[in-house]
């Protein structure tokens, strides 16, 4: 469902250039992190579109430092605003989770990494991520999904780098333990 966000006024050449420079390269990252937040393709696309509109409107005030972190903050704020406006009965519709599995890709000829994709593993990893409390889940999203460095993730969350390292370590250990508990012993024992 598309939110009622007004379109931005037409920008000037400078802000258009800044938008192209800072925002366009991050579309994939915005989608991936959005997907981890909404768990639903249609919602993710709407969320990213709204985020792009907000980013476009704010690009003149952006100082050019850490564009990815800035965009991810915008994405999260957009998501919070969308949920505030959304009717309660539309929240967490379990039927929407069905397209999570349906959307799993089983191979991509252009991507050697994807040729060994195990859709069950991917769905289980996703479940393990979602089972984490937010203080562990968010660093994983920032570092593994969005590709931020430890320093960028620390700045984004306003915590020391050491805290990011420790939370990542604990989060991954929990995920690994959960995967082993449901039968992914081969991950460790070959």
């Amino acid at each position: 469902m598309q939110e009622e966000l007004t379109y931005p006024q037409e920008g000037n050449g400078e802000s258009d250039a800044a938008f192209s420079r800072y925002v366009l390269p991050e579309l994939d990252v915005l989608y991936r992190v959005g997907q981890s937040i909404t768990h639903n393709h249609a919602d993710t696309e709407d969320l990213v579109q709204d985020t792009l509109i907000r980013a476009y409107r704010a690009i003149d005030r952006f100082d050019g430092r850490y564009p990815r972190a800035w965009l991810l903050t915008t994405l999260r704020n957009t998501h919070i605003n969308r949920n505030r406006r959304r009717r309660p009965e539309l929240l967490r519709d379990p039927a929407l989770d069905m397209d999570r599995l349906a959307a799993t890709k089983i191979g991509d000829a252009d991507d050697p990494e994807a040729t060994v994709v195990d859709p069950v593993l991917d769905a289980s990893v996703k479940d393990a991520l979602e089972a984490l409390p937010p203080r562990f889940q968010i660093p994983i999203e920032l570092v593994d999904l969005a590709g931020l460095s430890y320093r960028e993730a620390a700045d984004q969350l306003g915590v020391p780098v050491g805290t990011i390292m420790s939370r990542l370590h604990r989060a991954r250990r929990r995920m690994r333990t959960q995967l082993e508990a449901i039968g992914f012993r081969e991950l460790e024992l070959d």
Binding site: Y7, P8, Q9, E10, G11, D16, F19, S20, V23, L24, L27, D28, Y31, R32, V33, G34, Q35, S36, H41, T44, E45, V48, Q49, L52, I53, Y56, A103, K105, E113, A114, V117, L121, D122, V125, K126, L129, I140, V143, D144, L145, S149, Y150, M165, L168, H169, R172, M175, R176, L179, L187, E188, L189, D190
Partner: protein, 88 residues
């Protein structure tokens, strides 16, 4: 297998590698320490398998939520339209 095989890793060595492993997997180590970890992972089966399991989780996360081609194209067109369209 080389002629001069290193002796099995000690527990303290494995513990030290365990402390560096996540940073190694995230490319957050300097070259010297990254080399130390790499050599250890090649020699020590237990640590090597542990690293492989974390690597699989990271790769799975990277695949997670990747937009399909059509979605990626729609989003790109939408983003580009913001800079090229008069929305008033």
């Amino acid at each position: 297998m080389g002629l001069f095989r290193r002796s099995p890793a000690s527990k303290s060595e494995c513990d030290e590698i365990g402390r560096l492993l996540q940073r190694y997997l995230d490319n957050e180590l300097d070259v010297n320490r990254a080399c130390t970890v790499l050599v250890h992972l090649e020699d020590c089966k237990r640590c090597g398998l542990e690293a492989a399991s974390y690597r699989e989780i990271k790769q799975s996360l990277r695949r997670t939520g990747r937009p399909d081609e059509q979605t990626a194209s729609r989003l790109r067109k939408f983003a580009e339209s913001l800079t090229t369209t008069d929305h008033r």
